[in-house]
């Protein structure tokens, strides 16, 4: 990296004020967000910032001049993301293009988003008045796994002092967005925008969700797997007794009909799939070891063989 004084194009004995002026002048010309069409601006701006970080600060400058720190400073500059990389990336379009109201349609029935063209084609913008459009507000709400499965009501106090009554439908999934009509902030005509609530669902220790089905694991002992057993299994509706079939294998999936998640408009609920995991015997002793050794003499088995279960 170059000498910071050269980068800023100032003399090594320039005053702090001169350095600040030089930085501001150069930053104006090269800030990537003020020059979205000039890709080379970013590199130059980063160099300027690195240089200004050192000599723009009287203390650091002294240490640089004394050779205590090099031109990169002592700390690394963190990865910097400029807004222009995101200007078009926000799926919710919170910034800019606010003038396009949802549902506003042109004469052909298509969503008419391109107000800039609407203005141009309509004539010459005569009689246009400035208005503050209703503002949509976005909330993020975290709910627990079981509330997402069964649905719930939530009264939630938000940082702007408002309380929102939110009805969460059964079967809502992570990342889903609820629209609350006219719960946003008002525009100049007094009509409020909408509130959008993005739901994130906390993971559950025992259940996993796959579409409208629930997956869970069921540890069984070797004896239960060999002889079959009736065991208690947790479902989202509480515990039920389930029959483990005789000779159940590792990874066998038992289906509990209707113990899944609401399918919404399609009606009904999905299923729960319980995957069997055979736990090795606890406290295996000499007798068991001897028994297994004898048993394997007459039942040779190589589970590493291709195609073995």
């Amino acid at each position: 990296m170059a000498n910071p004084y050269e980068t800023l194009d100032v003399a090594p004995n320039a005053s702090q004020e001169d350095i600040r002026k030089a930085y501001r002048k150069a930053a104006k010309e090269t800030h990537p967000d003020l020059n979205p069409g000039k890709p080379e601006a970013e590199e130059r701006f980063k160099e300027l910032n690195a240089a200004y970080d050192i000599v723009g600060d009287a203390d650091k400058r002294k240490r640089y001049d004394a050779g205590e720190i090099d031109e990169t400073g002592t700390e690394r500059q963190p990865e910097r993301h400029f807004y222009r990389e995101y200007a078009d990336a926000d799926p919710n379009r919170r910034y800019g293009r606010r003038e396009a109201q949802a549902g506003q349609r042109d004469h052909e029935g298509a969503d008419f988003d391109y107000d800039i063209f609407a203005d141009l084609f309509r004539g010459h913008g005569e009689g246009a008045t400035f208005r503050v459009p209703p503002r949509d507000v976005r909330y993020a709400l975290e709910i627990n796994f079981l509330d997402a499965v069964h649905g719930t009501r939530k009264a939630v106090a938000m940082p702007d002092g408002k309380t929102l009554d939110i009805t969460i439908p059964a079967g809502i999934s992570d990342g889903q967005v609820l629209r609350l009509k006219e719960q946003g902030l008002p525009g100049s005509d007094g009509k409020p925008g909408d509130a959008y609530v993005e739901i994130s669902v906390q993971p559950h220790a025992g259940f996993k969700r796959e579409g409208s089905d629930i997956l869970s694991k069921l540890p069984v002992s070797l004896g239960e797997a060999l002889n079959g057993a009736s065991v208690r299994v947790e479902t989202v509706d509480g515990p039920v007794d389930v029959k483990v079939p005789k000779g159940a294998k590792e990874g066998t999936k038992l289906r509990l009909r209707g113990k899944g998640v609401s399918r919404g408009q399609a009606g009904g609920r999905g299923d729960q799939f319980v995957e069997i995991h055979i736990a090795p015997p606890e406290g295996a002793d000499e007798a068991l070891a001897q028994f297994m050794a004898d048993w394997e003499k007459t039942h040779p088995q190589n589970p590493r063989r291709k195609g073995a279960a």
Binding site: H31, D33, Y86, A87, E142
Partner: protein
């Protein structure tokens, strides 16, 4: 997404009151969660831009929302221009040529 105090920890010179003013003025529109504001990468990059303009480049409080709004409009205009360019590129060759000819004519007439 990160919380307000995490954001302020990242931009040590950013004052909380200034951040709240920016939110109030619509310079920033972070998500709202049960325990306060939540900032995603889009918001973070905007905070970085606003901090550059205010703390480093000396833009005052009254000017900042104006400049940010102009920058937003600039990005909108670029977005619309790209859409227009795509639409033009889908037209028959003759129509594209006619549009280019017409634009060149407009430029010359402005110079006169």
């Amino acid at each position: 997404m990160i919380r307000e105090h995490e954001l302020i920890a990242q931009y040590t010179y950013l004052e909380r009151e200034v951040l709240l003013t920016w939110i109030e003025e619509g310079v920033l529109a972070p998500y709202r969660g049960e325990e306060g504001y939540l900032f995603d990468r889009v918001d973070e990059s905007r905070v970085a831009l606003a901090c550059d303009l205010h703390y480093r480049m000396g833009l005052d409080h009254a000017s900042l929302p104006v400049i940010m709004s102009l920058i937003d409009q600039l990005h909108d205009a670029r977005h619309h221009l790209r859409a227009l360019a795509r639409a033009v590129a889908e037209q028959p060759e003759a129509v594209q040529q006619e549009i280019i000819r017409r634009m060149a004519k407009d430029r010359t007439s402005q110079r006169e």
